[in-house]
Amino acid sequence: MAKWRRWLGLAPASIIIIGLFGGSLGYGIAQSLGWLPFLGQRQLSLAAYRNVLAGEQLGGQWWQALLFSLWVSLAATLGSALICLGLLSSIAERQQQYRGLSTISNLHLAIPHSVWAMALLLVLSQSGIFARIGFGLGWLDQPSDFPVLVRDRWGIGIIMAYITKEVPFLLLIGLATLRQQGREYLLVAQSLGANRWQRVRLVLWPLLAPSLIGGSLLVLSFIFGAYEVPALVGVRYPEMLATMALELFLNPDLHARAEGMAVSLLMSLIILVVIGLAWRWRRAEQQS
């Protein structure tokens, strides 16, 4: 096919992504450097970054939010990945296409995170369904006896919302790998005399590792930067980076916009560095 036709096919989609993404990045960097023409401010400086990283008020908030975001995203990702690995290990040797499991996992992906968070709130809050059941069974005397599981200061509600949401996602990724190449290797290992544990540990896990690690990285970067769930089932303190960025940006004081922008750019930078390192590491693994 002629060269120009190739680019004609790619151009519309690429131009939209480059235009929107580039525009967003360009204006984002400019604003974070204090270029706020609507306030008549055109002097560029690193003041916003200084305030965010080391400022008297925001500095503490930033490091707290960074730690909290790391905790929530790592705990939820690790939890989802381990559960998914356990489930896959227990069903990997079935001789079938896993259609039922795929369909139900796909249906899970259809529920928006915000709605999922609301369901969790209605089930797990101190006057929710579980608390009512506990009360009915005589385990509780008053709502405050029920543990604070959503809108709690450790982010338990956020982590639970993500784990229940991301296990089906990782399952779909793992099932795709299993369907493509899993069974033959497991059968060979079995006929060579490997016991069940050996098959799972020495054949299945190495087989699933690349796709599950890749999927987990997507989950990690998604949770690290997502706004909806922490906004709905989180607390104001400690908060995650995404909620901090958006609150600063929507602050009636327009000068806080530069800081909101700085927070969101730093947050994106952290994600891109992690993804980039993982990508390089994987390439090095493949080459060795």
Partner: protein, 261 residues
């Protein structure tokens, strides 16, 4: 655990929230320790359905999500086709370009675009919101269509062309039918991502465009549980109907649906 138990547990985890929403939406006078509501009443739910603000939000969400799906398919089809059926320099780079929006948070892109869209006069317009929704949607449509192009046999197109079919005829009678499951799934995926979008609509809609997620967020901060439940039901009903219609395609590996966290 056996395979069956896992499928059932996952199904249960999916059904419980829907049941909980139904109970909260239709319960009357259901005060705390009571295990079961005193009576049932569809009044609040029906009032919600008739609420002009809700109807407007529903309509705008519908227009935006449908528009985004169509735009994403029209833009994504040629891109996925070139990316998968040809090898050329810069292919990896273009794939990287489509990968970026899947990991950069929408809070970051939305905040950056807020001013750009204000300047272009696109803020607060339906088209502006559709355009910005393409950032999270387009990559998934390209990846989903791409993975079904990866096992696409172009010989059928060539056969048709040799027999004298025009390019349009080949497209409509050969390519589209062969890729139909993937096109349908990609379209539904696009609808779903757009329908669930909150942050980007908020930052670009500028208070003029109100979508369903915004009503849900407002209800969540208000704390009225039956309102939250009614809105959640109205929010997910179209998604469940759409997915029910395409469920038989979803479990099949041939559609190449790219899952998303």
């Amino acid at each position: 655990m056996s395979y069956r138990i896992i499928v059932w547990v996952l199904a249960l985890i999916l059904l419980v929230p829907i049941a909980v929403f139904l109970i909260y939406a239709f319960a009357q006078g259901w005060f705390f320790p009571a295990l079961w509501p005193e009576r049932w009443d569809s009044g609040l739910f029906l009032r919600q359905l008739a609420d002009p603000q809700l109807r407007r939000a529903f309509g705008q969400s519908l227009i935006i999500a449908t528009g985004v799906s169509i735009l994403a398919l029209v833009l994504g089809y040629p891109a996925a086709r070139v990316l998968e059926l040809q090898t050329f320099r810069g292919r990896g780079l273009i794939y990287g370009l489509f990968f970026l929006p899947t990991v950069v948070p929408s809070v970051a892109t939305g905040i950056g675009l807020n001013i750009v869209f204000l300047r272009l006069g696109l803020a607060g317009t339906l088209f502006g919101v559709m355009l910005v929704h393409l950032i999270p949607v387009l990559p998934y449509v390209v990846l989903t269509l791409g993975s079904s192009f990866a096992r696409y046999d172009r010989n059928y197109e060539q056969q048709a062309a040799v027999l004298g079919a025009s390019p349009w005829f080949v497209f409509w009678r050969v390519s589209v039918p062969m890729l139909l499951p993937s096109l349908v799934v990609a379209g539904v995926l696009a609808f779903l991502i757009s329908w669930s979008q909150y942050v980007l609509s908020l930052l670009i809609g500028g208070g003029k465009i109100i979508t369903l997620p915004m009503l849900l967020f407002a209800a969540a901060s208000g704390g009225n549980q039956s309102l939250i439940a009614s809105l959640s039901l109205i929010f997910i009903a179209p998604l469940l109907i759409l997915l029910g219609l395409v469920a038989r395609y979803l479990g099949s590996p041939a559609t190449g649906a790219t899952p998303r966290p």
